[in-house]
């Protein structure tokens, strides 16, 4: 870092890296995040990329972005508006610049502003003069500086140009005083020979450029955040979810079966767990979504801790199989990492619109517990809890994550594994008086009696079963009793769910209700509003079926209820039907997470005039 330039301290900064989908924006975004985590800041990230692997270069459709928000205080969202945009070409500039905070910094690769590139991005004329009036525009000839740094290496221009993302990263490391070591370590583990040399060299060339260029008169620093003491790492939702599955296996001392079919944005969980066969995990890439669910249910029948992971279109295909798991009362977890739909929709964009599908998406009355994770790190704990419910109550359990949680990251306090290693799976071995559909009086769970157990030979299936014996039964009264029993069993899970705690006062003018990945935006908006003197509280639901027992009471303790979710009002509908509350809905269906300001705007409009 230059001793000659002044350093300014900032509370928080949000930076967005943007370029072509092949430009390595996700890579440098991730590296910047890791370095920032090690610098001790709180942080939140938002990767946003197209579904096409390599969309045509230089077009708006191909722009890939990665936003990282970091601070010396607690933060919960990737920030509504970036303070800084790093745009590697005109298309990346055009797709992102209007999101930048007015007066914010816009760093562009000036070498990329050819007439052809600007035309391809849809600019009729050079946008830079106009943008220079509204933003602090910094023009850096990235491509030529990068080539210059590699001039004496035996490396082609094409390969040289591929490393320019690391030049940009180095520049940003200097500008925000980030440590470079973790990135150098990563590069050494990843590349060899000239490619390694090139990347290391341009990374440091970027840092030196920052130091010497007159374009950056000062650099910035963001102090370490005061967060709870402990051992931390950075984690994405999908990694936390995969590790939560491993933790459940350890907690129950049981081998794990994962059945999955590749689908965005859930495939990463399959990839991650496929690496851990030595943890006793068997991953099975099935021929389709239905087979993935079916094999998983088969493994559950056979006594394994079983899970399948998918996204909306796959979750739909699994519903018939899940109906069978409900009918045969087998324990497994099905994870839906929701994406924007309907149909194929926007595969890489986020949404929370599969709630009603999870709750009601099967033929006939087929109740299934539903949980939703609130933050990337929370995916870990949600998975453990889902398995606990599944094996205790002998039921499939749905876990809802979403595309935003899946790919975004936050610092995560590493839990003490020993504190997790309790809990036992009860599998029946005693043939004395065994009936496949006898029930635990407390949980109403039927016994888990996997094949291989002598004396417990029995048959299960999708036909309605006689209470207790499990024999096929067409008796009308028995059917009515079994429908009621299946519902009652799921309802009784509420006895294990802690009462919902209100963030803020227990009663008052406005309660904001959220669930799933909107936790950060809602909590930030509510805290901000309270700091401004508004009478607003919040609850965030993890348990969507059954609800916490006190939910109705909490809802009725507020004059207004606002349900904020990334769909057309699904939880809103359920709460109104269930509790007869005149709740209002804040909905967003753009494939993007809530901005804090959007939630805040809805709060203000309900509490108009009060401050």
């Amino acid at each position: 870092m230059s001793p000659t330039k002044p350093v300014e301290e900032l509370d928080r900064v949000a930076i967005r890296f943007a370029g072509d989908s092949g430009d390595g924006m996700q890579v440098i975004g991730t590296k910047f995040t890791e370095s920032t985590a090690l610098a001790g800041n709180d942080l939140s990230t938002f990767p946003d990329f197209p579904a096409e692997i390599r969309a045509p270069a230089g077009t708006l459709a191909g722009v890939s972005g990665f936003q990282v928000h970091f601070a010396g205080e607690r933060i919960r969202t990737p920030a509504d508006q970036p303070d800084v945009l790093v745009a590697l070409n005109p298309a990346a500039l055009r797709a992102n610049v209007e999101d930048v905070r007015p007066g914010g910094m816009v760093i562009v690769n000036s070498d990329a502003f050819t007439v052809k590139n600007m035309e391809r991005a849809g600019y009729a004329e050079d946008p830079r003069p106009e943008l220079g009036d509204r933003f602090r525009l910094v023009e850096v000839p990235l491509t030529s500086l990068n080539r210059e740094a590699l001039r004496d290496l035996k490396i082609g221009t094409r390969d040289a140009d591929r490393s320019k993302n690391f030049f940009a990263l180095g520049m940003m490391y200097w500008l925000y005083g980030r440590p470079v070591e973790s990135t150098e370590r990563w590069l050494r583990g990843r590349f060899k020979g000239d490619v390694l040399e090139a990347n290391l060299r341009v990374l440091n060339a970027g840092i030196h450029f920052g130091e010497t260029t007159e374009a950056f008169p000062i650099s910035f620093t963001v102090p370490r955040a005061k967060i709870q003491p402990g051992h931390y790492r950075n984690i994405t939702g999908n990694t936390a979810l995969a590790w939560g599955i491993l933790a459940a296996g350890k907690r129950f001392d049981c081998s794990v079966f994962l059945g999955a079919y590749p689908i965005t944005p859930a495939s990463d969980v399959l990839h991650e767990l496929a690496r851990y066969r030595h943890f006793g995990v068997r991953t099975f890439q099935a021929e389709d979504e239905i087979a993935a669910a079916s094999a998983t249910i088969g493994a559950a029948f056979a006594g394994e801790l079983s899970v399948c992971t998918t996204s909306g279109p796959g979750f739909v295909l699994k519903q018939e199989a899940l109906g069978l798991a409900i009918m045969t009362e087998l324990p497994l977890v099905v994870v839906d990492i929701q994406r924007a739909g309907p149909s194929t929709g926007l595969p890489t964009k986020t949404e929370q619109a599969d709630l009603l599908l999870a709750l009601y998406g099967r033929n006939s009355d087929s109740p299934m517990p539903v949980l939703a994770a609130a933050t990337p790190g929370d995916c870990f704990y949600t998975m453990i809890e889902a398995f606990e419910i599944a094996v205790k109550y002998m039921t499939p359990v749905a876990v809802l994550s979403d595309g935003y949680l899946a790919n975004s990251s936050e610092p995560w306090q590493i839990p003490d594994v020993e504190s997790l290693t309790q809990g036992a799976i009860v599998q029946r071995t005693d043939p004395e008086g065994f009936h496949p559909y006898e029930r635990d009086p407390d949980t109403l769970a039927r016994p888990w009696a996997p094949p291989g157990t002598p004396g417990l030979e029995h048959r299960i299936g999708g036909l309605e079963t006689e209470e207790n014996t499990g024999n096929v039964s067409y008796d009308p009264q028995n059917h009515a009793r079994m429908v009621a029993l299946r519902a009652e069993k799921v309802a009784r899970i509420a006895q294990d769910i802690p009462p919902i705690e209100t963030d803020g006062a227990d009663r008052g003018r406005l309660l904001v209700v959220g669930w799933g990945g909107t936790y950060g935006a809602i909590t930030s908006a509510v805290e901000e509003a309270r700091a401004d003197g508004l009478d607003v509280s919040a609850i965030h639901l993890r348990h969507l079926n059954p609800f916490p027992a006190n939910l109705g009471e909490v809802l009725k303790s507020f004059e207004h209820v606002l349900v904020a979710e990334l769909n057309s009002g699904q939880l809103w509908r359920v709460l109104r039907a269930e509790f007869l509350v005149d709740a209002k809905a804040l909905t967003k269906i753009e494939g993007l997470p809530f901005k804090v300001s959007e939630v805040r705007g809805a709060i203000d409009s309900i509490l108009e005039g009060e401050a």
Binding site: A37, L38, G40, S182, P229, G230, H231, Y232, R233, N234, W243, K250, F257, G259, Y276, R277, H278, F279, G280, R282, F284, A286, E287, D288, I290, A291, A292, S294, A295, T296, I297, G298, A299, A300, F301, A302, G303, S306, E320, A321, G323, L324, T328, I414, P415, V417, E418, P451, G452, P454, G455, L456, E457, H458, R459, I460, G461, G462, N471, V472
Partner: protein
């Protein structure tokens, strides 16, 4: 619970009343499977029957073993999950021509391709029975049913050729009422390591009666079927009408033998173990009315099974990396400590 060696057919009969139509071929198949079970030396608790939907799929309810009556067409996928979780189990899939080859064709294909060590019994009656008589994917073209009042215009799929196309390591055909032969085939299927696919020609007396009558009726069976025996020439027919199958350039033809020695007359000698499936495909093309229906084992070759290879990967991972350490994993890569 009697020891495996002392068990009898009765030990495999469940308490449930069997509810197929009178005269259904499924009765005979059930009886023969129950007869074979105690002879296999597998403890009853290690036997699992898995089915989908259809008449044949009621089968598990009648077996006093573990059983799972699942959803339409997906039994091979459920069975795969069971087998991967507990490789020691003897897992039998019972399916039909509609369940296995129509709605479940994809799962049948991929399960066979993976060579999961399962026995798959496909009861082929060439009609949908449980839904009351629509044509199935194995129905003869032109067949008139409730859903094809002017005759079916689908070409049919041959289960044996389908299995061969999927890369099956064991493919056989048996007849519901030919008890001894069926039992022999079931023994062979169980002994095979890998997916053992068995088509069982089965009569539906209600919706497609006498579909297989030529091969079921003892009077016509000898001329209408060709019993495959490993190492023996493809000879069939009554003593006064001995015939053989010659295969040239993959194309079979019938040779009337009289007193000729079959091998000298160029009749193909049956070999289950050809590495190439071309010969078995040629056999699969033998259909009525021009040819006899081959009965027995078309193909039996050895290939590592899916669950064995999966177990090797688990063992290798354990040998190379030791038992997974969750605490170390959570602390892997870049971490940092926030001091109090």
């Amino acid at each position: 619970m009697p020891a495996a060696a002392k068990m009898t057919r009765k030990d495999f009969v469940s308490s449930q009343d069997v509810r197929w139509c009178p005269g259904c071929g499924d009765y005979s198949i059930l009886s023969n499977v129950q007869k074979v079970m105690p002879e296999l030396g597998v403890p009853r608790e290690n036997v699992v029957f898995v089915s989908g939907i259809g008449c044949s799929s009621r089968f598990p309810y009648y077996m006093n073993t573990y059983g799972f009556h699942t959803i339409h067409g997906r039994a091979p996928a459920f069975a795969t999950g069971i087998k991967l979780a507990r490789p020691a189990l003897s897992v039998w899939v019972v399916t039909g021509d509609g369940d296995g080859l129509s709605i479940g064709g994809n799962h049948l294909l991929h399960t066979i391709r993976r060579n999961v060590n399962l026995q798959i019994l496909l009861f082929n009656n060439r009609v949908y029975g449980l839904t009351k008589g629509q044509y199935s994917p194995t129905s003869r073209p032109g067949m008139t049913t409730k859903s094809t009042p002017q005759g079916g215009i689908d070409y049919s799929v041959d289960p044996i050729a389908f299995a061969l196309g999927a890369g099956a390591t064991f493919v056989a055909r048996a007849i519901d009422v030919d008890a001894n032969h069926l039992q022999e085939v079931l023994h062979r299927a169980h002994a095979h390591l890998g997916t053992a696919f068995v088509e069982i020609l089965q009569n539906c007396p209600v919706y497609n009666d006498d579909e297989w009558v030529e091969v079921e009726d003892r009077k016509t069976r000898t001329n209408a079927s060709l019993v495959l025996k490993d190492g023996e020439p493809l000879v069939f027919g009554n003593e006064d009408n001995r015939q053989g199958i010659r295969i040239e350039n993959g194309v079979p033809s019938i040779v009337r033998l009289g007193d000729q020695d079959p091998v000298a007359a160029g009749i193909a000698v049956h070999r289950e173990g050809h590495e190439s499936p071309a010969y078995a495909f040629a056999l699969a093309s033998l259909t009525r009315p021009n040819f006899p229906v081959p009965i027995g084992v078309f193909r039996a070759v050895e290939k590592p099974t899916y669950e064995t290879m999966l177990q090797h990967q688990v063992d290798d991972a354990l040998a190379q990396r030791g038992p997974g350490d969750l605490s170390a994993l959570l602390r892997s890569g870049d971490t940092w400590t926030v001091e109090a």
